[in-house]
Amino acid sequence: MAVIVSLLVQFAQMLLVLALAPLLTGVVRKVKARFQRRIGASVFQPYRDLRRLMGKDVVLADNASWLFRVAPYTIFACTWVAAALVPTFATGLMFSWSGDLIVIAGLLGTARFVQALAALDIGTSFGGIGASREVMIASLAEPAMILIVLSVALIAGSTQLSVVADHMLNGQVGLRVSLALALVALTIVALAENARIPVDNPATHLELTMVHEAMVLEYSGRHLAMIELGVALKLLLYISMIACIFAPIGLAGANAGIGAFLIGGAAYVAKLAVGAVALGTFETSIAKMRVFRLPNFVGAALMLSLLGVLLLFVSRGM
């Protein structure tokens, strides 16, 4: 019986992230629109977009291979499973033990690898430009992510997100210099990984500075829908991860009752809302960077996270 309940909770979490992800994107867009003094589309617009795209046939380039057709589902599945490993409303879910933070970073890496390959599959120059820039940014963001994981793990004594959240929740951590460095670095990594301003502009097309949109240029119909859903899930994943590590307030324990789950869920939705508003505000207040200034920006995250790890190795009190 207990197994069935924990299985149900696990699936509830997976469905929750899937259901909330487009809404999060919608809220961010709404916030940005309001800042630009536009009314903006409804926060539910991403759902409509997805439904519309799902209903459309795929127009496939003549020379597209099977890899191109498998990629959208792979990207979606990897991102979804990674998102399911992040505690949202409760820690210690049934399958949270199947992967730790490094595995989450690895799954996102798999998704990106497939994405970049799919971009190169048709053999158009837009795909190439997107893929080459994506791997360049990832070559800085991914190690930064790993180093952030290392500093968090050195403090919490675990790379397992559930354990980290419990540890942070217990309040023995206090304020740490290295955690502050990790937070700054993780924010930069999250911006870079999600192709947000100032790294990439999610609203642009046909601009030579674009990265992510250039890679998915050849996609259409249901394939594009899967990719868009994957993008929304990834944004949700990063906000959930930041919330889980740095603000684990309200997270329910592993075997808590339904009440704790509800509180955790409410807290989670509130955290997402805060994250969405913060992201929208930040994106409105800053300009997109030139591509070759990005290495400095993302490299700063790498350096800060390295500094954090170094401080922890030198002195456990930092």
């Binding site: 971009a119 048709i122 070559s139």
Partner: protein, 666 residues
């Protein structure tokens, strides 16, 4: 068990004789490679069965008087025997098909079994003489294999550099054993284990072993032969050299430092960590800039050797600080990565060989669109690319994940050097992993995806059945070792126990086959579950979308923002794909410079874009070294034209000097 391994060496030698005799006969290929395949399988089985057994010894009345030939099969050599068997069986299977069109099989057939015999003997040797004999046998036979296609330009030079590095490696190993044996001359490994050299001698032995084994394995700055020799050798030999021989070198390092020396002081660990980290990052950066598929793979081998040495350095650091559990984790991670590298690098070299055979070129800028023309080869290579890029759920991720767990294990080491170098290595390792992913996106994306850039690539055909079988088998093994990392970890338990006195917790008994390196509350990883999850959720999503959404599909020309380019030459090239990365890291790593010469309007000159790169190590170390040797030999040339009396005088003076040295020594 050891008798089986010994008879395998004998069989290899017989096959070498058969290869020399059969020469050009078409049956030679089946006999030699088929035989090597069988013997490889036997060696694999022997290693698998012997790994948990106590060490077995055998002494043969051969070789140097009073010393004889001592052979020993313990857990460490069993593991490497397993790895050797696997790699050689795969390469032989591949070769049966691949060498069907070989024009001069007599240049490969005799040396191939000899090479395998040499490597097997290195693993079994239990005294310095047989070890060095086997080491040199391995070097020389592989040199002959590198020379197999000696008429192609550059191959002879590659073989020469390889020979020089092999001589260097043999010399340093010889000196290391000489110092280990001490003045009493205990050349049996047992005597060396029992001896406890002083701190200064330990340092010397460590440095010599690192240089000797490192030059064979490809540690920076001794890696120069790999990108030269690997492309020169036939592909199945490259697979063996890269996948197996570099591991034999790793074995040599472990045998000397972990076993014979019994560990090293902490500062030695910092050196290994630093060299390993730099090797990993330099290797992958060079790989990212290469357009020759096999050179790219050779540089990627350098990277992976770096990762293995980072693991070994961590193990040394923990061992020096009396933390056997940590040393066991780090050592297991290093050996696991060595095994993984054998699997995926052999696979990738097979793929490169198949592509070379099908298109006649190794240049990725002349390939493209192979996924449709060589579907099976490409699919296998894709699996290899996933594995080498350390992506879950493949095996490369499992071993790098373990290495990260080892890094996290104990930050409170007392030595400052370790406190600083371990996190720095964590950063380098993470950077290398991300760059490796970029490198293989580039290699696969430019070489196998897109549209064919040349007619040769457009007319490519699928490889033969033997080759495809070898590639598919290794791809399957990459996936299996990735999905069940616990099996390999448990396999390595006796090795870790023998070398560092502890082993990782037993894995295969855990629920759901979860891998738990230390404790469940610290970290856990279940590749199988994740794989099933990803497959399941992807499959269900696809099914649902097709059921409730659309399922139609229409082919049309590529969109490309409305301007599809008619010529395949307008695709992104490998150089343009690597350009952003070159711009970020290139200035520092190899002083990369882009010079654009844009003529003024009206000028009819063609615009040019020149990229210059400097290989600091080649230009800074090897070129001056070569110049110095030339300079010295020019001056010593005088010695060639002396009278007999003077030569005798030299011999006499030397004799007197040696006698005086002996008198002073005593």
């Amino acid at each position: 068990m050891i008798e089986i391994a010994l008879s395998c060496i004998g069989l290899f030698c017989l096959l070498a004789v058969a290869g020399a005799g059969l020469g050009r006969a078409s049956a030679g290929r089946f006999i030699v490679y088929g035989g090597c395949l069988l013997i490889g399988a036997i060696l694999f089985g022997t290693g698998l069965l012997a790994i948990a057994e106590p060490a077995q010894r055998i002494a043969l009345p051969l070789g140097v008087p009073w010393v004889g030939v001592h052979l020993r099969l313990d857990a460490l050599s069993s593991f490497f025997l397993l790895l050797l068997g696997l790699g050689s069986a795969g390469a032989s299977l591949f070769a049966i098909g691949y060498c069907a069109h070989d024009e001069e099989p007599q240049r490969v057939l005799p040396f191939y079994p000899l090479f395998l015999a040499g490597m097997t003997l290195v693993l079994l040797a239990d005294d310095a003489f047989s070890f060095l004999f086997a080491w040199e046998l391995m070097s020389l036979s592989s040199w002959a294999l590198v020379m197999a296609q000696h008429r192609e330009s550059g191959n002879a030079q590659a073989a020469f550099v390889y020979l020089l590095m092999a001589v260097f490696s043999g010399l340093t190993m010889l000196l290391a054993f000489g110092v280990l044996a001490g003045p009493t001359g205990g050349y049996a490994f047992d005597a060396m284990r029992a001896a406890h050299p002083s701190a200064g001698l330990t340092a010397l032995i460590f440095a010599l072993a690192l240089a000797g084994a490192g030059s064979k394995a490809g540690l920076v700055p001794l890696h120069v032969w790999l990108p030269l020799a690997h492309p020169a050798a036939p592909s199945h030999v490259s697979a063996l050299m890269s996948g197996v021989m570099t591991k034999i070198a790793v074995y040599g390092f472990i045998r000397v430092v972990f076993d014979l020396l019994g560990g090293a002081p902490w500062w030695a660990a910092t050196i290994v960590l630093a060299v390993g980290g730099i090797t990993a990052i330099m290797g992958v950066l060079h790989a990212l800039m290469e357009r020759d598929l096999k050179r790219l793979l050779a540089y990627s081998t350098v990277e992976n050797i770096g990762i293995v040495f980072v693991g070994l350095g961590l193990a040394l650091a923990f061992k020096a600080n009396n933390f056997p559990a940590g040393a066991a984790l780090a050592l297991t991670a290093a050996l696991f990565h060595a095994l993984n590298h054998t699997l995926f690098k052999s696979l990738l070299f097979f793929g490169a060989g198949a592509v070379l055979h099908a298109t006649g070129t190794r240049d990725i800028e002349k390939l493209g669109g192979l996924l449709q023309r060589m579907p099976l080869t490409s699919a296998a290579v894709l699996v290899g690319c996933f594995a080498i890029s350390a992506l879950p759920p493949m095996n490369g991720f499992a071993s790098e994940w373990l290495t990260f767990q080892a890094i996290l294990l104990r930050p409170e080491l007392p030595q400052w050097g370790l406190k600083l170098s371990i996190p720095a290595d964590g950063a380098l390792l993470a950077l290398a992993a991300a760059l490796a992913a970029a490198c293989f996106v580039r290699a696969f994306g430019i070489g196998f995806l897109g549209r064919p850039r040349t007619a040769a690539a457009g007319n490519a055909h699928e490889a033969d059945r033997w080759s495809v079988a070898a590639m598919a088998g290794f791809a399957g093994l990459c996936l299996l070792t990735g999905l069940f990392p616990g099996v390999t970890i448990d396999l390595l338990a006796p090795v870790a126990h023998a070398l560092v006195g502890a082993a990782m917790p037993w894995q295969t008994g855990d629920a759901w086959l979860t891998t738990i390196p230390v404790a469940a509350s610290r970290s856990s990883y279940n590749a199988l579950l994740l794989f099933v999850f990803v497959l399941g959720s992807g499959g269900i999503a696809a099914a649902l979308v097709k059921r409730f959404g659309s399922s139609g599909l229409r082919r049309s020309p590529a969109w490309d923002c409305g301007f599809p380019d008619p010529s395949p030459m307008t695709q992104y090239t490998g150089a343009s794909m690597g350009q952003p990365i070159k711009r970020v890291y290139g200035a520092l790593a190899f002083h990369a410079r882009d010079v654009v010469d844009m003529p003024a309007p009206g000028d009819t000159r063609a615009a040019t874009h020149t990229v210059t790169r400097t290989d600091y190590i080649w230009d800074g170390v090897y070129v001056p070294l070569g110049q110095a040797v030339t300079w010295v030999s020019t001056y010593l040339n005088v010695l060639q034209f002396l009278t007999i009396r003077r030569y005798l005088g030299f011999v006499f003076i030397l004799l007197i000097l040696l006698l005086m040295a002996l008198a002073l020594w005593q």
